[in-house]
Structure formats: structure tokens, C-alpha cells
């Protein structure tokens, strides 16, 4: 991942900023210029939203074969999370033991290091999720 490519998406990755179609009310993460439900009617009607960051696990896996940048974290939990406002996203679950993770688990976002560009390169930060104690 190169710097400009990461940097231009930092609002979404740092702050969970997405948007909402004011024509139909649907929330989107990441931001979309056009609402897939309203098409033309949504142009100019997409409103920026910062998500609360709470949601639940829809499905999950424990990754053993990872890409080079994520090898040191193995084994780690990846999940699809449904945010309270509706949209789904993919992220790691941290501060959670491997036998604790389950479908339906309530989670909230946390700001963490994602990876780094080699030993001397920049560090990439963004959201991960951790369990919410009931």
C-alpha cells in the first residue's frame, strides 16, 4: 500500500466516516457518490456521516495463511461486522481470545496499527474492533 492511496481514505479508516442518502435514508460505508438504490435521484444528496462504531459480528474466521504485511499477527481474527446504522464492513477483531469469538458478538471500533511499510517506512493506522462486554 503506498502513501497517497492510504492517505486519501484516512477519514473512513481513522474515523469511520461514511455517508447517507437523504433521498432514501440508507447509510453507506465507505462513502459512495451515488446511492445504488436511488441512482440519479441521489446525486448531490449524499450527506457525510460519522458512524457510532458499534455493531455485531456477521461471520468470522481465524486467518493462518496471511499476506506478507500481516504475517506477524497470525493467527488473527477477521470478521464481517454489521454497524448499528446498517452498513457492513470487514475488519480484525482484537482483544478477543480465539475461543471467545462467535457470530452475533457485539463489538465496537478501536483505533489501531494495521501494518507498516517495512522497518523504516510509514505505519498505517485504521479501525479494528473489540468485544463489548455485556
Amino acid at each position: 500500500m503506498n502513501m497517497p492511496r492510504f492517505w486519501r481514505e484516512k477519514q473512513g479508516r481513522y474515523n469511520l466516516v461514511g455517508n447517507r442518502c437523504t433521498n432514501c435514508g440508507t447509510y453507506y460505508f465507505p462513502k459512495r457518490d451515488i446511492c445504488p438504490k436511488c441512482h440519479r435521484k441521489s446525486i448531490g444528496k449524499m450527506e457525510e456521516v460519522r458512524f457510532k462504531g458499534t455493531g455485531k459480528v456477521v461471520s468470522w474466521t481465524i486467518v493462518h495463511d496471511a499476506h506478507p504485511d500481516y504475517k506477524d499477527m497470525r493467527p488473527y481474527i477477521m470478521a464481517i461486522i454489521e454497524l448499528e446504522e446498517g452498513p457492513r464492513l470487514t475488519g480484525q477483531i482484537v482483544d478477543c481470545s480465539l475461543d471467545e469469538i462467535h457470530t452475533g458478538m457485539r463489538v465496537r471500533d478501536t483505533f489501531r496499527k494495521l501494518s507498516e511499510d517495512g522497518k523504516d517506512g510509514v505505519i498505517f493506522y485504521g479501525y479494528k474492533f473489540r468485544p463489548v462486554k455485556e
Binding site: M1, R5, F6, E9, R13, P30, V58, S59, W60, T61, I62, V63, H64, D65, A66, H67, P68, Y70, M73, P75, Y76, M78, A79, I80, I81, P87, R88, L89, T90, G91, Q92, T103, L114, S115, F124, G126, Y127, K128
Partner: protein
């Protein structure tokens, strides 16, 4: 729209072909298909090449022209060559583009190739490149891999429908059983269920033997218009229909994660175009990039009701001799999965079956066959239906 026929088919052996280059395998497949059809270079109007990622795998782009050159069609005949990319559906989509170029009336005879050379680099890098077909900005950047998305589909399918770990494993067992009958397959050895269940985890619950391998290989077809086809062969295979559909690039944005809507829509479009339904299909090649992908495919193509794919596999309804033999070639798992070649190789297998040339893995009286290819985690699907006219 003019009728289009397959009049020639060929593949290389699939596997780790270290002594052979990208161009070597592309040419071998092309020449086999051309020889099979009986045409000569002068008869060819155009070339379409399915390839996912030669730029990343071998640092070579512009592979349409490259193959045209080394197959001897560029420097003297200057025939047009077009590369088509849609990740794992690249070959299937190249087939569709070739079909359209003939059915439209523009060309009469077209060669379709698919090729990928994946083993010149290490496994870790190769897996990273195949994951470029999923969303790089919102999936892989957070640590997701291609296999991890398949694993999340598997978990959801198991939790919702009661699909078992053993049923997933049986997909691999049956594909290896079929692969053992295919002299071009990467793996020609039967395996036991325990082998799958004891192999190391890739992404839980999926293990090494749930996943298609990294492979080198190429496949090619010669297509011709209806009036031309009979001049070259007395057993042409008709392309009855091709359906294609898209879905969101990220798995998490889909309506469902244990139904592949792109497959459902591509299949519906193909069945409608052919005036057929899933009950008319005698043999099918489906996209088993993982064992769960095959279970979802046989449901989403309509061969079995949703949620009953795992049981159908357990009952061996998809094995040779079963209700509907699936992946008689060995599938992606055992025949091998050179990504850009796969969609073309699937059609080569269906053509062999419909002509009665499938030897020890022949499905008796196969008249209508289907091929199904998927790009990424399901953002593209292509379904093709072919019929023997012999």
C-alpha cells in the same frame, strides 16, 4: 444473432510447469485447439485471451499481442488480439467476447485462449496477487485474504444450513477422484476425507485441501459461425447461451454472504437465453476455488435447493455416476487453477464430454453441459450452456 459453435479445443497439462514459460503454454494450447479444429492460421479472424494478472505474476502486460505474435498470427497476418480480465472469470469472459464477435456477424472464426503462469514466484506472493481480485481498499488493507472471505462464507453457510465440515471435505475428495481420471490434471491421485480434515488451516474452518492450488496452464478453443462450422467438423458443439452478472466488489456489501447473487443472475440469464432450466443439464463444470464455493455454486445454479448442497455432496449426487456429475475434469481443486485459463479449461472439458471424448470420465449420453466461472469473491459470474449437435 448468428449461431456460434465450438469446433476445436485443447489444453496444456496443468501444474507446476517450471521448465515452460507463459508464451510456451499459451502457444501449446492454441496449437492443440487449432489442430483439433482443422483450420489454418489464414482462417482466423481474431484472438481473445483471458488472463488475470500476467503483469503481477511475470511482469508482462500486453499479453494479447504477445500470444498472437508467438502463435504466428501477428507478424505476418496481423490479426487483432484482445485481452480480457475479470479475475477468475477472465477466461469465461474472453469466451463471451469471442462469442459476441461471431454472433454479431463481425467475424467467422475466432480463437479464444486463457493462460496464467503462477509458479514463477513464491506461494506467499502468488496468494497476495490472487487477492488483488477482492477489494484492496476495504478488505485486504485490514488483513483479509481471498481464503479468509471464502472461510466467512463457509462459516455462515454452516451456521445457517447445518453444512458440515465433512461435507466440505467430500467436495475435495470427489474432485480428486475425478482428477485421477484426467491425464491433464495437476493432481491425479485420489485422497481420503481424513487427508482434507487433517490438513493445516488456511483460514478457519477452511484447510489447505479445501482450496484450489496455484497452477500454471493454458487452454484454448476455436469458435466458428454456424455456416462455417460444418465445413470443418461433423461434430460441432453449439454455444446455446452465455449469461453474465456482477455484484459488489466487497463480500460484506452483498445482500447475502452464503448465496452468490451474481451466479443466480448469470444462471437465470443463461437458462432464459437457452430456453432451458437446471434440470436439462447433464454435466457441469463449476467454480470450486474452495470447497464452499462448489457447494454454493451447485445450489445457486439451481441443481439443488438452497442449503441442501452439502447433503447432495455427502450423498455423492455430484460424482461421476451420480444425479448430475460436477467437475469431471477434477475441478479447480484437482485439475488445477491457472486463474485466467480456468474459464476456458472448463469449456474445453464440457466440449470433450459433449463430443464423447472424455475417456474414463465420460458422462454417458451427455448432451447439454454448463460451465460456471466466478471472479473475485463473487463480483463477476459467467454461466455458459453448450449443446452437442451430433
Amino acid at each position: 444473432m448468428r449461431d456460434v459453435y465450438v469446433i476445436g479445443a485443447g489444453t496444456t497439462r496443468f501444474g507446476e510447469l517450471w521448465e515452460r514459460s507463459f508464451r510456451d503454454i499459451g502457444i501449446e494450447a492454441g496449437i492443440k485447439a487449432i489442430n483439433d479444429s482443422g483450420i489454418t492460421g489464414n482462417d482466423i479472424d481474431a484472438l481473445y485471451i483471458g488472463n488475470m494478472s500476467a503483469g503481477a505474476f511475470i511482469n508482462q502486460e500486453h499479453v494479447g499481442a504477445l500470444i498472437a505474435d508467438y502463435v504466428g498470427l501477428a507478424g505476418s497476418l496481423h490479426i487483432p488480439a484482445t485481452r480480457v480480465e475479470a479475475a477468475g472469470a477472465s477466461g469465461a469472459l474472453a469466451f463471451k467476447e469471442a462469442y459476441l464477435s461471431i454472433s454479431s456477424g463481425m467475424y467467422d472464426i475466432v480463437v479464444v485462449g486463457g493462460a496464467e503462469k503462477m509458479t514463477d514466484i513464491g506461494d506467499e506472493m502468488a496468494n497476495y496477487i490472487t487477492s488483488m481480485a477482492i477489494d484492496q481498499e476495504w478488505e485486504t488493507v485490514f488483513g483479509a485474504t481471498y481464503a479468509s472471505l471464502q472461510a466467512m462464507m463457509a462459516r455462515a453457510h454452516m451456521e445457517r444450513y447445518g453444512t458440515t465440515r465433512e461435507q466440505l471435505g467430500m467436495v475435495s475428495v470427489i474432485n480428486h477422484r475425478h482428477g485421477a481420471l484426467n491425464p491433464d490434471a495437476q493432481f491425479q491421485r485420489e485422497i481420503k476425507l481424513e487427508t482434507v480434515l487433517k490438513s493445516g488451516y488456511v483460514a478457519e474452518p477452511l484447510r489447505v485441501f479445501d482450496m484450489a492450488p496455484l497452477s500454471d496452464g493454458a487452454a484454448a478453443l476455436v469458435l466458428a459461425s454456424g455456416d462455417v462450422a460444418r465445413k470443418y467438423t461433423d461434430r460441432p458443439v453449439k454455444v446455446k447461451a452465455i449469461g453474465q452478472a456482477s455484484d459488489t466488489i466487497s463480500l460484506h456489501d452483498r445482500r447475502e454472504i452464503c448465496t452468490m447473487d451474481s451466479t443466480v443472475y448469470a444462471a437465470k440469464r443463461a437458462y432464459d437465453m437457452a430456453g432451458m432450466g437446471p434440470e436439462d443439464i447433464d454435466v457441469a463444470e463449476v467454480y470450486d476455488s474452495s470447497t464452499i464455493a462448489e457447494i454454493m455454486a451447485i445450489e445457486d445454479l439451481g441443481f439443488f435447493p438452497k442449503g441442501e448442497g452439502g447433503k447432495a455432496v455427502e450423498d455423492e449426487k455430484i460424482a461421476l455416476g451420480g444425479e448430475i456429475p460436477i467437475n469431471t475434469s477434477g475441478g479447480l481443486k484437482a485439475r488445477g487453477h491457472p486463474v485466467g485459463a480456468t474459464g476456458v479449461a472448463q469449456i474445453v472439458e464440457i466440449v470433450k464430454q459433449l463430443r464423447g471424448d472424455a475417456d474414463r470420465r465420460q458422462v454417458k449420453d451427455a448432451k447439454i453441459g454448463l460451465a460456471h466461472a466466478v471472479g473475485g469473491s463473487g463480483a463477476t459470474a459467467v454461466v455458459s450452456i453448450l449443446e452437442a449437435e451430433i
